[in-house]
């Protein structure tokens, strides 16, 4: 087993809602190696964002409740340490960027102020030092005349530029881990290409590990080394990026890949559609959460939720069925 800089074990998070307790994350375990890019893929409500927010202590409680699990980062359990200690890690050693840069930037503060704050707080820089560093950071993420733009407010930037500001802010304290939650979903495709290009360049220069959360299997293919697929609050498949796309094992992953049209599609084939809807889990399921939508489902699937089973080298899948033969594993 490689040395993980972040090691998450058995994470469980629930939310209390008027309709009952929703089990958003149901025992998620994964590791992140140094300098690795890990893609986390799933549809809305699969628990991918909640997993990351739980690790960083960003789940509001109530209604949220991180019920169980460990998240070991530099020998400490992030779920156990005090809020104060966590605050020193968040934004400094682990930082996060979000989908919508407009709502995650403060509209009434200049971006200069927002960029210098973590530098002064975490790195103890003086105002002067922080401003100089902030200008450098803007330069680094490809915003020309960084120094002149420190006095501008978020609304004076375009969507792509705002996401660059967010990235600059996230990288300001040279974190070991960057968690990116659908950072390009709100952007146009040519701007998305710019941002992904930037992230790849910065990753190679700075050597940080990245967790990239997305619903877009295309984005992950070009970026990640390893991929987790999530469904109904569970990790249902994990593999290296090449292995996952070449030999998807879990019926959900197979169906998801088949439901995507490709820009390099030559022949017109009918898209594979997955009937039904993703589940909202008011109870921790006894059965496989994907069984109601699964073409391969067999009796066992309705009786016991499969754990992650080893199906190949560095490849696990939570399914009782061998999709190649259609028989029980």
């Amino acid at each position: 087993m490689p040395d993980f800089i972040l090691d998450v074990q058995g994470l469980e998070t629930t939310f209390r809602t008027p309709d009952g307790v929703v089990h958003a994350v149901n025992g998620v375990s994964f590791g992140l190696a140094e300098g690795e890019t890990l893609g986390v893929v799933g549809e809305s409500g699969c628990g991918k964002s909640v997993t990351m927010l739980s690790i960083l202590g960003l789940i509001p409680s109530p209604p949220g409740n991180v019920k169980a699990g460990k998240a070991i980062f530099s020998k400490q359990d992030l779920l156990k340490i005090s809020k104060e200690e966590l605050r020193h890690i968040r934004g400094a050693q682990i930082s996060m960027i979000f989908q919508d840069p407009m709502t995650s930037l403060n509209p009434v503060l200049t971006i200069g102020r927002q960029l210098t704050e973590p530098l002064e707080l975490h790195l103890g820089m003086t105002k002067e030092q922080a401003r100089t560093r902030a200008a450098e950071l803007l330069q680094m993420v490809g915003i020309p005349n960084g120094k002149d733009r420190l006095g501008d407010y978020p609304h004076q930037f375009s969507g792509g530029m705002r996401q660059r500001v967010m990235i600059a802010m996230a990288l300001s304290c040279s974190p070991q881990i960057l968690i990116a939650d659908e950072p390009t979903t709100a952007l146009d495709v040519t701007i998305q290409a710019q941002i992904m290009d930037l992230v790849k360049r910065l990753r190679d220069e700075l050597g940080m590990a990245i967790i990239w959360i997305t619903h877009d299997l295309g984005v992950v293919a070009g970026l990640a080394q390893r991929v987790l697929v999530m469904y109904g609050g569970y990790i249902i498949e994990e593999a290296s990026v090449r292995e996952l796309y070449a030999n998807p094992e879990h019926p959900y992953t197979i169906s998801l890949l088949g439901s995507l049209p490709r820009v390099d599609e030559i022949e017109h084939t009918k898209l594979l559609s997955i009937e039904g809807l993703p589940p909202v889990l008011y109870q921790k399921p006894e059965a496989c959460p994907f069984a109601p939508r699964c073409k391969w489902a067999m009796e066992h699937c309705w009786k016991e939720n499969p754990p992650l089973l080893v199906v190949g080298p560095d490849h696990t899948s939570a399914c009782w069925v061998d999709t190649r033969t259609g028989r029980h594993r």
């Binding site: 040519t190 290409a193 299997l217 090449r242 995507l260 049209p261 490709r262 009918k270 559609s273």
Partner: protein
Amino acid sequence: MSTNNDALLYVEDLFVHFPIYRGFIRRQVGAVHAVDGISFDVKRGETLGLVGESGSGKSTTGRAILQLRRPTSGSVHFDGTDLVALKGEQLRHMRRKMQMIFQDPYASLNPRMTVGEIVGEPLMVHNVTKTKEIEERVKHLLELVKLEPAFISRYPHEFSGGQRQRVGVARALALQPSFIICDEPISALDVSIQAQVVNLLEELQGQFNLTYLFIAHDLSMVRHISDRVAVMYLGAIMELANRDEIYLRPLHPYTQALLSAVPIPDPIADSKRKRVILQGDIPSPVNPPSGCRFRTRCPIAQDVCAESRPEFREIKPGHFVACFFAEKFL
């Protein structure tokens, strides 16, 4: 571009400008050039994909065709009639034949109306079905879009996004139109639900010989569903051709860059591709660049591109492009 008989819709020199007013006496100080002189046709029974990034004017084009937003100038010929010249009852009459499916299935259905009322409303408004037959007809429409006829008395909030979008499709089909504008019909839906709706649209097209204008920013989905594709940028059509021509032999540098930016869900194919990464953002449509509007981000722009606007010309049969240097890529 010449009109021909198999064109159901023919748009010529369409301009839509949104005036900008300033000051105490609300003087007009400028205009947003949302659609700036576009011409194209849509043939009977085909799907024309209209792609572009946000702000390219693709949705405004759709609305201007249906006269939901009156064009500043230009003409929209539908089945031989110029819609721009029509008013009142005549226009309402024509609208029966053209319908729209909207992007946001949460905003486009009235939350206080039942599904039956929503789908039945066009039938009442246009007075095409006897009141007592409406319910039968609505149930039939729900079946067509694969919803339970029993859903007729339910409200939109009881449905998922994909189901709501089906209600939107049923409403669009109610008057048996020949032409439907699909304005980003799937971009608000989850990946596994998108395929359901797209497959439904394709089935219905075959069943009723529908003609679609499919507006989207998802180039993969447009390739999947379209027969021909038009690429818009900042209010103008940059390139229009058969689907395979556009995707395999794009001649406009913008189309080339756009296609290379789309991620492919296949790490091996993705790593082999040549990427063209455009610099900068889309300029403001209030003040579009002189000459070719793509020149500020174009990798092959020359002086001439700033001086005059390249003609939208047919470079080979059926393949139109607005670029001075498109021959380079032939």
